[in-house]
């Protein structure tokens, strides 16, 4: 079935069954492989993308339910890694293996949209559903604070 999607600022048409997870559409049909498959049941957060700015787990989102909502993936944050959260991640050198990090970043972006100056508790709460096997949580928390500063125009 032909389905029209708004992905990272462009209209894309895919031929997919209604119940295909958005994650498969992004990775296998649109070659946007920055969003990762972790658990397949919304338990780990690796597949987090935004629908109209709200974080969702793409692995449990049937593509037919997306409708006209705008999909943003890690590739859509910036063309060159210049989004403040991406800059902060690089500055703090958060990543170890990296598998969970696109999900961590997408959740951090969603948090900062609502809490521009989050506390440690805000960050821990928002990112509780994003699991990191390497245990980068302390650096993730630090990077969210750095991103908040960058978003406010700080150096």
């Amino acid at each position: 079935m032909a389905i029209k999607l708004h992905v990272n600022g462009a209209v894309r048409e895919v031929d997919a069954p209604d119940d295909m997870p958005l994650l498969w559409v992004l990775r296998d049909l649109l070659q946007l492989s920055g969003t990762k498959y972790g658990c397949g049941m919304a338990q780990c957060g690796a597949c987090t993308v935004h629908l109209d700015g709200q974080p969702v787990r793409a692995c449990v989102t049937p593509v037919a339910t997306v409708g006209a909502r705008k999909v943003t993936t890690i590739e859509g944050l910036s063309p060159d890694g210049s989004h403040p959260v991406q800059q902060a991640w690089a500055e703090v050198d958060v990543v170890q293996c990296g598998y969970c990090q696109s999900g961590q970043i997408m959740t951090a972006v969603a948090l900062l949209a609502k809490r521009p100056d989050p506390t440690d508790a805000d960050i821990d709460a928002a990112l509780s559903g994003n699991i990191c096997r390497c245990g980068t949580y302390v650096r993730v928390r630090e990077a969210v604070h750095v991103a908040a500063r960058l978003q406010r125009g700080g150096k």
Binding site: M41, A42, V56, V60, D122, G129
Partner: protein, 193 residues
Amino acid sequence: MRSAAMIALALVACGNARSPAAPVPAAPDRAAGVAAFATVRAVLQHPRCQNCHPAGDAPLQGDDSHAHAMNVQRGPEGRGRPGEECTTCHGPANPPSNYGLHVPPGAIEGWRMPPPEQPLTFVGVAPRALCEQIKDPARNGGRDLAALRAHLDTPLVTWGWAPGFGRAPVSTPYPAFIAAWETWAAAGAPCPE
């Protein structure tokens, strides 16, 4: 009260001798209302309902009503906390059965809990306290009995009888629940002793 109802019925019956008006049914008495509330209570304290009406701010999950994974919390409006809202994982409908077990259910209304200022706790509440709480507009979101009845038709409530693949529905059939509710309400929403 029962004798008054019988007199009212008799008067209506007399009136029927001269006009075709339908008889007015007698209101259920208090005992019938209290008995009906037992059915209502069993539904409210079924895991499909009480898991989003916990004691405390952590929602519950599963038929054993264990604490929700990932430290999920009620949040400032009952919709989770910024960055980890209920709708991050709970979509607008139950995922298809071919997604397998353990995937989060969904509802078109948007998954949520009662707000923190009126948490409407169902878990561990004794029948009388539960009864008094749910009909108290100061604690139930400002609803009178008519508004409460309308709430029972909303997607988050009816979801309890269609909870998705691998999840047990509320054990009392929905029509039986509604009939019990209406009997209780018609009796003046009496609470058990």
